[in-house]
C-alpha cells in the first residue's frame, strides 16, 4: 500500500485496520440490545453473567432436571386450567368415554374426563403434567442427596440448603393438592385419608378439618380450595423461592469437585456463552422431550378406570404418588395399640406420628443438619470444594441411615402390593418392615461407614503402591512379581487432597471471673463425644513423607525399573 492510494479520511499508516462490518443480522441484534440498554443499562450485568463460569459434572445436572421439569409442569398446568372446572357440583357425564356415560359425578371429574377424551392433545398435556411433576420431585430429591453427600450444604450455603428443603416440602404439598383435583376414586380416597389425618390432630383436629373442608367431608369446598392453592399460592411460592435459590447459586458461584487445578478459591469450568447456553439450553429441550416421549408411550393416572369418588367405594392396591409413600408407609407400620385416651380425649398416635409428624421430622432433621455438623466439627470456614463422600464417612453413613429409613417406610406403603406379587402374608411383611424401621438404619450406618473407610484405605494403597498392572515380571533370582505403576500426579492429587482430622477445640468453661460454667462444661462434654463419634476411625490422606517411605520400602526395584514400583 502506498501513500498516494490512501484517501485523506482514511487511517494513518500505523493505525489498526477498521474492523470488518458486522453481518446485517448481528447489527439488528445489536440495535435491539442497544435500545434496551439505553433504557436499562443491563449490558454490563448481562455481559458479566454471560461470561460466568460453571463447573462441569453430571451430578450438577440433577438440579437442572428439577428446574426444567418444574417449568414444564407449570407450562402444562397453565394449559390445563383452560379446560379444567374445579367444581364439586353434580353433573351427569355425557362425554365420549362410553363406560361412564350417564354416570353422576362432579364437574371436576367430568372436565378431567373431557380433557382426556374430547380435547385434542388434552390427554398428552395431562400426562406431561403428571409425568413432569413426578420427575420434578425425583430430580429434586436426588439433587438433595447429591448436595448432602458431597457436603455442598456447608458454609456459605446453609441458607440455600434450607431454601431447597422448603422447596422440596412445598413440592410435596403441591403434588398432593394436584392429584386430589380430578375427583376420581383414587384422588377422593387420598382426600378421605387426609381428612382422617387432620381430625387426629390433638385439640384442633376437628376444627382444622371443618375449616379446610368447609364442613363435613367431603363437602363442596375442598376441590375449589385446593385448586387455588395448587395453581396460585404454591406456584407463586415455588417460583419465588426457586428464584432466590438460583440467584444464590450465581452469587456464591457453583461448588466444584476436588481435582487437579481446582481450589477452594477458584471455579474451573466453562462460560455461559456459548458453552452453557447451548448445553443447559439444549438440556431443557432434552428434559422436555424426554417427558413428552414418556407421556406418549406410558399411560399415567388413568382417571377413567375407577370412576367418580364415592365415600363407600374403594379399590384394593390404592397408593399415593411415590413421594407420599414414606408417610403412608409409616401409617401402615404404626400399630393400633398406640392410640389411647386421657380424660376423655383421644390421642390417635398411630395417625399423629405417621401423618402429622413423619414429614416435619424428616425435613426438620435435614434443615438442622448443617448446623449440627458445623458445631460438632467446629468448622466455620467457607467451603467451595466438595467432599468425596468416602472422605466423610460419618456424614455419608448418617445420610445412608436416613435414606434407609425413608426406603423402608416407602416400601411399607406397598406392603399390600408386595404381599400379592410375592404371595406372602401381609402381616409378616408388615412385621419385617417394623423391625427394619429400627434395625435397617443401624445396619446401613455401620455398613456405609466400613465401606467408606475401606475405600479410603484403597485410595491410600493406590497412592502408596501404585496401580496393579497385571503384568508379571521375572526377577534376577527367578522370582516373579507384579509390576505396579504409580498413579500420575493429577490422579494422585484427587486421592490425597482432603484434609486431615482437625483437633477438637473446646471453648473455655471458665468465665472471665474464673467461675466455672457448669452448662458450658456439659456442652463441651457432649461436643467432645460427638466429635469423637464423627471422626471415629478416620483414615488420613497420604503425606509426601509416607509416599517417600513407601518408595524406600520397595528398595531397588523401584530404582531399577525407573518410574515403575513393584511390590514383593
Amino acid at each position: 500500500m502506498t501513500a498516494n492510494t490512501r484517501p485523506a479520511d482514511a487511517l494513518r499508516a500505523d493505525d489498526a485496520p477498521a474492523v470488518a462490518p458486522a453481518s446485517p443480522g448481528l447489527k439488528k441484534v445489536g440495535g435491539v440490545a442497544g435500545w434496551i440498554d439505553d433504557r436499562t443499562g443491563a449490558a454490563k450485568g448481562v455481559g458479566y453473567l454471560m461470561k460466568k463460569v460453571f463447573p462441569d459434572h453430571w451430578s450438577f445436572m440433577l438440579g437442572e432436571i428439577a428446574m426444567y421439569s418444574m417449568i414444564v409442569c407449570m407450562l402444562t398446568g397453565v394449559f390445563l386450567t383452560f379446560w379444567f372446572d374445579p367444581s364439586m357440583a353434580h353433573t351427569t357425564y355425557e362425554g365420549s368415554y362410553a363406560p361412564l356415560q350417564g354416570v353422576e359425578m362432579s364437574r371436576a371429574y367430568a372436565s378431567t374426563l373431557d380433557i382426556s377424551f374430547d380435547v385434542k392433545g388434552g390427554l398428552l398435556i395431562r400426562q406431561i403434567h403428571h409425568w413432569s411433576a413426578l420427575l420434578f420431585i425425583v430430580a429434586l430429591s436426588v439433587h438433595m442427596l447429591r448436595v448432602f453427600f458431597t457436603g455442598a450444604f456447608r458454609k456459605p450455603r446453609e441458607l440455600n440448603w434450607i431454601i431447597g428443603c422448603v422447596l422440596s416440602l412445598l413440592a410435596l404439598v403441591e403434588g398432593f393438592a394436584g392429584y386430589s383435583l380430578p375427583d376420581d376414586l383414587l384422588s377422593g380416597t387420598g382426600l378421605r385419608a387426609a381428612q382422617g389425618f387432620m381430625v387426629a390432630a390433638p385439640v384442633i383436629g376437628s376444627y382444622l378439618s371443618y375449616g379446610l373442608f368447609g364442613g363435613t367431608f367431603p363437602g363442596d369446598d375442598i376441590i375449589p380450595r385446593l385448586y387455588s392453592v395448587h395453581i396460585l399460592l404454591l406456584p407463586a411460592l415455588l417460583i419465588a423461592l426457586f428464584t432466590v435459590h438460583i440467584v444464590l447459586v450465581a452469587l456464591q458461584k457453583h461448588t466444584q469437585y476436588p481435582g487437579p487445578g481446582k481450589t477452594n478459591d477458584n471455579v474451573v469450568g466453562f462460560p455461559v456463552m456459548p458453552v452453557y447456553a447451548a448445553k443447559a439450553g439444549g438440556f431443557f429441550f432434552i428434559v422436555f422431550g424426554g417427558i413428552a416421549l414418556i407421556s406418549a408411550l406410558v399411560q399415567i393416572n388413568a382417571v377413567w378406570v375407577h370412576g367418580p369418588y364415592e365415600p363407600n367405594a374403594t379399590t384394593a392396591g390404592a397408593q399415593p404418588d411415590w413421594y407420599m409413600g414414606f408417610p403412608d408407609g409409616a401409617l401402615r407400620l404404626l400399630p393400633g395399640f398406640m392410640e389411647f385416651e386421657t380424660f376423655g380425649f383421644t390421642w390417635a398416635f398411630p395417625v399423629i406420628i405417621g401423618a402429622l409428624l413423619v414429614i416435619p421430622a424428616f425435613y426438620g432433621g435435614m434443615m438442622a443438619y448443617p448446623f449440627i455438623e458445623a458445631w460438632v466439627t467446629g468448622d466455620k470456614r467457607e467451603h467451595h470444594l466438595l467432599d468425596r463422600p468416602r472422605n466423610v464417612p460419618t456424614r455419608t453413613a448418617l445420610g445412608m441411615a436416613a435414606l434407609t429409613l425413608y426406603g423402608v417406610l416407602m416400601f411399607a406403603a406397598s406392603n399390600d402390593i408386595i404381599a400379592i406379587k410375592f404371595g406372602m402374608s401381609i402381616n409378616d411383611i408388615t412385621w419385617i418392615l417394623r423391625v427394619l424401621t429400627f434395625v435397617g438404619p443401624v445396619i446401613a450406618f455401620w455398613a456405609t461407614k466400613r465401606i467408606c473407610l475401606s475405600l479410603q484405605r484403597h485410595d491410600r494403597d493406590l497412592v502408596l503402591h501404585g496401580r496393579e498392572t497385571g503384568r508379571l515380571e521375572r526377577g534376577a533370582a527367578g522370582d516373579f512379581h507384579e509390576v505396579h505403576e504409580p498413579v500420575d500426579e493429577q490422579t494422585r492429587w484427587t486421592l490425597v487432597q482432603h484434609e486431615e482430622t482437625p483437633p477438637l477445640e473446646l471453648t473455655s468453661t471458665v468465665d472471665a471471673n474464673g467461675v466455672a460454667n457448669k452448662k458450658g462444661a456439659r456442652k463441651n462434654k457432649l461436643r467432645a463425644k460427638l466429635h469423637s463419634f464423627y471422626f471415629d476411625g478416620a483414615v488420613e490422606p497420604v503425606s509426601p513423607a509416607e509416599l517417600e517411605a513407601a518408595h524406600h520400602e520397595h528398595g531397588h526395584e523401584a530404582i531399577e525399573s525407573g518410574d515403575k514400583i513393584s511390590t514383593h
Binding site: V53, N266, E339, E489
Partner: protein, 374 residues
C-alpha cells in the same frame, strides 16, 4: 523424573525444616519433604477430533444438522397428527396395550421436535464449541469490615434520627399496632373457612331427622341395599354373603348424599351364630345382630377409608388403604394394623313387614379418631 520429585514436593519452597546434614549431630527434620502434597494444577488439555481434523468437524456439523432436521420432522408429525387423527381412535401398542392413537402421535411428534433441538445443541457444544477450561476466582462472601460498619451506622443513625429510641411511647404503640394489624385478615380467613364441627362427627343419618330443638327424632330406619336402594330381608342374607347398606332415604338425597354416605355406610354380613367367640364382645356382637346377621360401620376407624375386603372363611374385615384388620366374630376388634379401636356396630332387628331395621343409631362416633371422640 528423578527419584525424589514424584512425591510432588516443590524443592524451591520446602515447607518442612532444612535438609539434615550428617555432621550436625541429632537434628530433627523432614529432609525437605513437605507435609502435604501440592495441587499440581490443571491437567494438559486434550484436543478433540474436531479440533484436529477438519473432516471430523464437518462430520460433527452434519450430525448436528441431522438432529435439527429431526426436530423439524417431529414438528411436522405433530401438526399432521393434530389435524388428521381423530381423538377417539385407539391403537394397540406393544407393552402398553390399547392407547389413543392421537396421544401417541402427538406425543412422539412433540418429543422428536424437542429432543432434536436439545440433542443437537448439546452435540454442537460438545464437538465444536470451545472446550478449554476457564478459571474464575472466588471472593469471600462477606462484605468488607468498612461496609459492614457502614451498614450498622446507617441503621443506628436512622433509628436515632427517627427518635424511635428516645420516645418509648411511640416505640410501644407502633410495636403493638404492627403486631396486631394482621389480625383482622387472619380472623376473617380462619373464622369464615367453615362451620364449627359441634357434634357433627358424632351423628350419622341413622340418628334420624334433626328436630327444630336440635334433638334427633329417633326413627328405626330400614337397611337399604346400596346402590339398588331396596330394603332387605334376613332371608336374603345367606351365610358368607356381604351387603353394602345405606339407611333408607339416604340414596334419595341429592346435595348431601356424599357427606351422609361418608358417615352412614354399613356392611351387613351373616355368620353362623356359633362362629361368634364366647367372650363378652362376641356375645354382645351376636345380641346386637339378628340370627347371626350383623351390621358394622364401613368407615375405617383409622383414617376413614371404606373397609372393603371381607374374608368369608376367617370373618375378618380388611381395610385396603392401610390394612387394618377387624375380627367380626369378636365385635370387630382390631387384630392387626394401625386402627386404634373397633368398627362401631349398628344394632339391628326386623320390622313388622320382615325387613331389617336399625334398632338404634350408632352408639359411638363412626370413622377416624378425633380429639373429642372420648
Amino acid at each position: 523424573m528423578s527419584e525424589h520429585t514424584p512425591t510432588g514436593a516443590q524443592p524451591e519452597e520446602p515447607i518442612g525444616s532444612e535438609p539434615v546434614r550428617l555432621d550436625q549431630g541429632h537434628v530433627q527434620g523432614s529432609g525437605g519433604i513437605p507435609e502435604r502434597f501440592a495441587n499440581p494444577g490443571l491437567p494438559p488439555h486434550v484436543l478433540r477430533n474436531a479440533d484436529l481434523d477438519d473432516k471430523a468437524a464437518k462430520r460433527a456439523e452434519g450430525q448436528v444438522a441431522i438432529l435439527f432436521i429431526l426436530s423439524i420432522l417431529g414438528t411436522v408429525l405433530f401438526l399432521v397428527a393434530y389435524f388428521m387423527v381423530d381423538v377417539r381412535t385407539q391403537v394397540w401398542v406393544p407393552f402398553t396395550n390399547e392407547m389413543s392413537l392421537s396421544n401417541l402421535l402427538l406425543g412422539l411428534g412433540l418429543a422428536f421436535s424437542l429432543l432434536g433441538i436439545g440433542l443437537g445443541a448439546v452435540h454442537w457444544a460438545k464437538t465444536l464449541m470451545p472446550d478449554t477450561e476457564v478459571v474464575e476466582m472466588r471472593h469471600p462472601m462477606r462484605s468488607s469490615d468498612e461496609d459492614r460498619q457502614g451498614f450498622v451506622d446507617t441503621m443506628l443513625e436512622g433509628g436515632e434520627s427517627s427518635q424511635l429510641t428516645r420516645r418509648p411511647l411511640l416505640k410501644a404503640t407502633f410495636g403493638a399496632a404492627m403486631g396486631l394489624f394482621a389480625l383482622p385478615l387472619l380472623i376473617q380467613l380462619g373464622g369464615s373457612m367453615g362451620p364449627l364441627p359441634r357434634n357433627d362427627l358424632s351423628v350419622t343419618f341413622w340418628n334420624g331427622e334433626k328436630g327444630k330443638d336440635g334433638k334427633y327424632v329417633p326413627k328405626k330406619l330400614r337397611l337399604h341395599r346400596d346402590p339398588e336402594d331396596t330394603p332387605i330381608k334376613p332371608s336374603d342374607v345367606t351365610i358368607g354373603s356381604v351387603f353394602h347398606i345405606q339407611p333408607e332415604g339416604l340414596l334419595e338425597l341429592h346435595d348431601d348424599i356424599l357427606n351422609e354416605m361418608s358417615k352412614a355406610s354399613v356392611l351387613l354380613m351373616r355368620l353362623n351364630p356359633t362362629d361368634f367367640q364366647e367372650t363378652d364382645k362376641g356375645r354382645k356382637a351376636r345380641e346386637w345382630g339378628y340370627e347371626g346377621i350383623v351390621a358394622y360401620s364401613k368407615v375405617c376407624t383409622h383414617v376413614g377409608c371404606p373397609v372393603g375386603l371381607y374374608e368369608q372363611t376367617t370373618h375378618h374385615l380388611l381395610c385396603p388403604c392401610h390394612q387394618s384388620t377387624f375380627d367380626v366374630t369378636n365385635d370387630c376388634e382390631v387384630i392387626f394394623g394401625p386402627a386404634g379401636h373397633p368398627l362401631p356396630q349398628l344394632k339391628i332387628g326386623v320390622d313388622s313387614e320382615g325387613y331389617l331395621i336399625a334398632e338404634q343409631p350408632f352408639q359411638e362416633p363412626v370413622g377416624p379418631s378425633f380429639w373429642e371422640r372420648g
